[in-house]
C-alpha cells in the first residue's frame, strides 16, 4: 500500500510538471502577495503584514485543491486512465488520495513563496514566535484540505452541475475561511457559517502563531480543523466509492 502511495505521488509530480494549469496557483501567489502587501503599506498598517503573507498562501492551497485535486477523477476519465485504474487491483481511493496528498504538499510551498516575496520585494521578514503551532496548524490544514479536495474530486464527477459551480467556490470559501479578514469582522449573520469551514479555525490559529501573545485554546481549535477536514475525507472516500459504483453500473467508465 505504501509503495503504491509513493508511486502515485511520484506520478503526480511528473504530471504536474507537464501541466502549467495545475501549477497556476503557485504562479499567482506572488502577485496576490504583492497586492495585499501594497494595501498594508499604503494604509500604514504594518501590523497586518502577517495577514497579507498568509492570505495568498491559503488562497494558493485552496486553489490547487479546487483546480488540480478536484479534477483528478474527471481528468482521468476524460484521458482514458480511469478504465485502467478500475480494472487494476490497486484500490482507487488510495490512488486518488495519494495524488491529492502530493498536490496539497506542493501547494504548501506557497507559504515559503509568499514569505520570500515579502522579504525580497517589501523588505518585511515575518517572524513566527510560535513555530511549532505554526507548523502543526499548517499540517492540520494540509490534511483537512486534502480531505475537502477528495470530496470535490468525487462530487465533480457525480454531478455535472457541481462542475458548473467549480469556479464559483473560491471567493465564498476565502470569505468564510477568514483567509484575510478574520471571521470576527464579517457581518454577524455570516459568522455561524464560518464555524463549519475548517479553514476559518486554521487561519485564525496561523495568525495567532505570528503574534507574540500566548495562544489560547490551541487543542480544541486544532481539533476543529482536523474533525472538519476528517469529515471531508469520509465524504470524499464515500463519493469516490459512489463514483466507481455508478460508472461501473452505467458502463460509463471511459466517457461522461
Amino acid at each position: 500500500m505504501i509503495r503504491l502511495a509513493l508511486a502515485m505521488a511520484r506520478f503526480q509530480i511528473a504530471a504536474m510538471r507537464r501541466s502549467p494549469h495545475d501549477l497556476m496557483a503557485l504562479v499567482n501567489a506572488p502577485l496576490f502577495t504583492v497586492i495585499f502587501l501594497a494595501i498594508v503599506r499604503y494604509t500604514g498598517r504594518d501590523d497586518l503584514t502577517g495577514y497579507a503573507v498568509l492570505a495568498p498562501a491559503m488562497i494558493t492551497v485552496f486553489a490547487m485543491a479546487l483546480l488540480a485535486s478536484g479534477e483528478i477523477i474527471a481528468n482521468d476519465r476524460t484521458d482514458g486512465r480511469l478504465e485502467l485504474l478500475v480494472a487494476s487491483p490497486s484500490p482507487v481511493a488510495v490512488v486518488v488520495l495519494s495524488r491529492i496528498a502530493m498536490i496539497t504538499l506542493v501547494s504548501l510551498v506557497s507559504v515559503a513563496e509568499c514569505w520570500l516575496v515579502a522579504r525580497v520585494l517589501f523588505g518585511k521578514a515575518v517572524a513566527v514566535p510560535h513555530p511549532w503551532l505554526f507548523v502543526g496548524t499548517l499540517a492540520a490544514i494540509g490534511l483537512a484540505m486534502a480531505g475537502t479536495a477528495s470530496a470535490m474530486a468525487g462530487l465533480f464527477v457525480l454531478t455535472r452541475s457541481a462542475r458548473t459551480f467549480q469556479n464559483s467556490l473560491s471567493y465564498p470559501f476565502y470569505i468564510l475561511g477568514g483567509v484575510l479578514v478574520p471571521p470576527a469582522l464579517l457581518p454577524e449573520w455570516l459568522r455561524p457559517l464560518t464555524q463549519v469551514v475548517f479553514l476559518s479555525w486554521g487561519t485564525d490559529l496561523l495568525r495567532d502563531s505570528l503574534s507574540e501573545a500566548p495562544v489560547q485554546r490551541v487543542l480544541p481549535r486544532i481539533a476543529a480543523v482536523i474533525v472538519l477536514g476528517g469529515t471531508g475525507f469520509l465524504l470524499g472516500a464515500w463519493l469516490i466509492h459512489r463514483v466507481l459504483l455508478k460508472v461501473r453500473n452505467d458502463g460509463t467508465v471511459s466517457h461522461a
Partner: protein, 266 residues
C-alpha cells in the same frame, strides 16, 4: 466591404454567444457566476473593514467591481485558443474572410457578461458596504465600465494571438495579466504608490485611465475635461491594442501558412 466585415463580426459574435449558452444558463450565470463575482468584490471590500476605513472600503469596492469587467474580458485570452481544440483554425485560415476579424468577434460574450456583472456588483454591493454612489448620476459609469471592458478585451486579443502558439499557457497568461492589472491599475491602491516605471507601464495598459474616470465621476471631484481626457486615453489604449492584436493574428496566419504547422501550434 465594410458590410461584409460587420457581417463576419456579427456571425463570430453569435458563435461566441452560442458557446456562452453552453456554459451558462441564465440561472447558473446568476447563482454561479454572479454569486462568485459578488463574493470576489466583497472579499476585497472587506479589507476596508479590516483596515477600519469607510473611505478605503469605498475605494476597494469601486476598484474591484470595475476589475470584474477587465477580468471577464481577459477570458478572451483562453477562449481564442479554444479554436485550436475545435480544429477550426486551418479552416479559418483557408477561408477568404480575415482570421483577425473572426477572432476579434469570437469572444465578445465575455465583454458583455463582464460589463453586466461588474455593473451589478457595483450597484448591488454599494448599499451593503455603506457606499453612497449618488444615484442617478452614478449611472453614467455604466458606459465607462463597458469602455474598460472593451479596452481590456482588445489588449487580451494581443495575448490571445500569442497563446495560439502556446496553448497550454492560456490560463496562466490570462490570470497573470489580470492580477498584474489588479495590482498596478489603481484598483487596490493608488497608482502613485508604485515606482515611476510601473506607473508609466500602468498608463499604457488598460483599466488605469478608465478606472480613474469612473472614480472621478463617482466622487464628483473631477472636472468634466479631466474625465474626458481619461476616457480618451482609455480609448486610445484600446484602439492601439486592437491594432497590435490584428497585426499579431495576421502574423500568426502568415507564419502558419509558411511552416505548415497551423494545426499544431508550433
Amino acid at each position: 466591404m465594410i458590410s461584409d466585415g460587420l457581417r463576419i463580426l456579427r456571425y463570430a459574435a453569435a458563435s461566441g454567444f452560442a458557446d456562452f449558452r453552453t456554459i451558462y444558463t441564465v440561472r447558473t450565470w446568476i447563482t454561479g457566476w454572479l454569486f462568485r463575482v459578488l463574493c470576489q468584490v466583497s472579499f476585497f471590500a472587506l479589507i476596508g473593514r479590516l483596515i477600519d476605513s469607510p473611505e478605503y472600503t469605498e475605494y476597494l469596492l469601486i476598484g474591484n467591481a470595475v476589475m470584474i469587467a477587465a477580468m471577464e474580458s481577459l477570458f478572451v485570452v483562453a477562449s481564442t485558443s479554444w479554436e485550436r481544440w475545435t480544429g477550426s483554425v486551418p479552416l479559418l485560415i483557408a477561408a477568404p474572410a480575415s482570421l483577425a476579424l473572426v477572432l476579434c468577434g469570437r469572444s465578445v460574450q465575455w465583454l458583455a457578461s463582464g460589463t453586466a456583472s461588474a455593473t451589478l456588483a457595483l450597484f448591488l454591493l454599494s448599499p451593503l458596504f455603506g457606499v453612497d454612489l449618488r444615484l442617478p448620476m452614478a449611472l453614467v459609469v455604466i458606459p465607462l465600465i463597458a469602455l474598460v471592458g472593451l479596452s481590456t478585451y482588445c489588449f487580451g486579443l494581443i495575448l490571445g494571438g500569442l497563446v495560439l502558439r502556446a496553448d497550454s499557457l492560456r490560463n496562466v497568461v490570462g490570470n497573470l495579466t489580470m492580477l498584474s492589472l489588479m495590482a498596478i491599475s489603481g484598483a487596490q491602491v493608488p497608482v502613485s504608490v508604485w515606482p515611476d516605471w510601473l506607473q508609466a507601464l500602468s498608463a499604457v495598459l488598460p483599466v488605469h485611465h478608465g478606472l480613474a474616470a469612473i472614480r472621478g465621476v463617482l466622487s464628483a471631484e473631477m472636472g468634466f475635461t479631466e474625465v474626458l481626457m481619461h476616457v480618451g486615453m482609455e480609448a486610445i489604449v484600446g484602439t492601439a491594442s486592437l491594432g497590435v492584436a490584428i497585426l499579431g493574428f495576421k502574423r500568426f496566419a502568415e507564419s502558419g501558412r509558411r511552416s505548415g504547422a497551423i494545426e499544431f501550434g508550433s
